[in-house]
Amino acid sequence: MKSRSRFPMIYLFVITVIMYLPILFVMIYSVNLSKISSVWTGFSLKWYRELFRDRNVGTALWNSLILGGVSSLAAAVIGTLGAIGTVRTGFRGKGAMEYIATLPMMTPEIILGMIFLAFFSLLGLPFGMTTLIIAHTAFCIPYIFMQVKARLAGMDKSCEEAARDLGAGRARVFFDITLPLIMPGIVSGMLLSFAMSFDDVIISIFVTGVSVNTLPILIYTQLKTGVTPKVNALCTLMFLATLLIVVLSALIGRLGNRKSPK
């Protein structure tokens, strides 16, 4: 029995190696002195230095941050209201509505990208930051919606009733009780949304204009001229940033759970 129980550990190890080995390689080559990726010649931070000197990278990073920030914020408002609406009220077709709200998560991105392209051209909207924000907000909403819905479902409704009983009107109850209690869900949903928006290439390519580059698009276009170690450095940094956000999101989620009793 004891020798058999080792199998899951080995399995886990193999899976982890398969998943993270490529990332590890990118990280290693980002500090490679050589210009050719596949040959190791020595340790150097020169690609990072070059990366930080590159103006295009700076603006792309800025665009990506703005895009991620604004769209996850907008998605937070819409997604939270939607979740409250579906959990707290009963109406016909509620089940269908919940399913539809999470559909964008399951739709292939290439399809979503084409849909947005067609939709925005139909509306005659100029492609650029505005269209990027609208598209990113739309695909971020499900992440917020799911997180907040789960949080609301696990929440004790009598807390809100107690607040009303103590004299608070509906609006007051929302801001004093409901919002603070679902905040961990909103925040972890927003972090997830930000991460999703920050590394999106496919949808962004469809809806961006000529003038606006996001970081992932920049990387993608640079690949056409060959993988330089500079791209490796950029990828390393983006991976670490995304990792940080995901860890943060998980931590906040857990902190919120510990705070509420039961």
Binding site: D156, S158, E161, A162, R164, D165, L166, G167, D176
Partner: protein, 357 residues
Amino acid sequence: MGEPILELRDITKSFAEGTVLNGISLTADRGEFITLLGSSGCGKTTTLRIIAGLESCDSGAVILEGRDVTDEPPERRGVNMVFQNYALFPHMSVEANIGYGLKIRRRPRAEIRKAVSDALEMVRLPGYERRMPSELSGGQRQRVAIARAIVNEPKVLLLDEPLGALDLQLRRQMQIELKRLQKQLGITFIYITHDQEEALNMSDRIAVMKNGVFQQIGTPSEIYDRPKNAYVAQFVGSANVLTGTAEYADGRLMLRRGDVRAAVTDPGTGIGAGAPLHVAVRSEYIDFLPPGTPGFAAVVKEKSFAAGMLRLALETPDGAEIIASRHGIDSELVPGDAVTFGFDAGHAVVVEAEDAT
């Protein structure tokens, strides 16, 4: 006393699953401790929620201090509720929890702080202001929930099985403290429980509830000694209810079952001879008679011992279960023995059949 503060007028309520309240009426006086007693699903929590305004009623009216508040939202009623699961705000400190009602009423901060510390003093948790609800034990949360309600000086305090989640010892202690608080504050308490002992201990009046109807409203001794119907007798006093027909002999009311009859206390309501008769007799008043004397026949089914009492379950030939209890543990009777039992007329109370509704 004697001044009505809360009145329920013929309240009905149905949910999709069926009727919960079937026309209930009740008047509570200022400073009175009223208990709604009943098993789960009898409609007692719904009644409380209707008084609080958390639930609307289909028909009828809720009158508070002479004002019809039936259509008022909960925040404008001036009653407060202690929830069954306490419903403390998990993200607020004890102080913020208790002070919440006063903060909404825009009382000055110093006044709130004073009121909170007084309330904590009153529920015997002085100095707990900074704690979070998650750091408190069940009993302490209970006290904070009570403090959060009484700090607002409500006209009526509603308590939904507030001691249900506590262990027996703590429950006894809290019963005494709640009663003390209620006397000290002079607030009307509407208290819900399914525990008849708790109800008998604490209440000025008890309303026994079943199927959305008040079966009987009265003082603990009225409910216990003169149960109005079979349900009240069984639920409150765990009494036996014997069913038979009425008969008169020497001007005395008798219960006839088969070819045996026994004298009972005549309620003086002029029950006609031959009418069906229900008689409640508490288990300790079931007497075993020597063989050969006239009495009701039964067979011992079960013998158990609990809380210092020997409990014998008997079954009569027509299938009725009768419980007889005795102090001490010695009894020669064993399951399967045939016995004859009777009772003293003074301990046999005529009750109505259960309400059909």
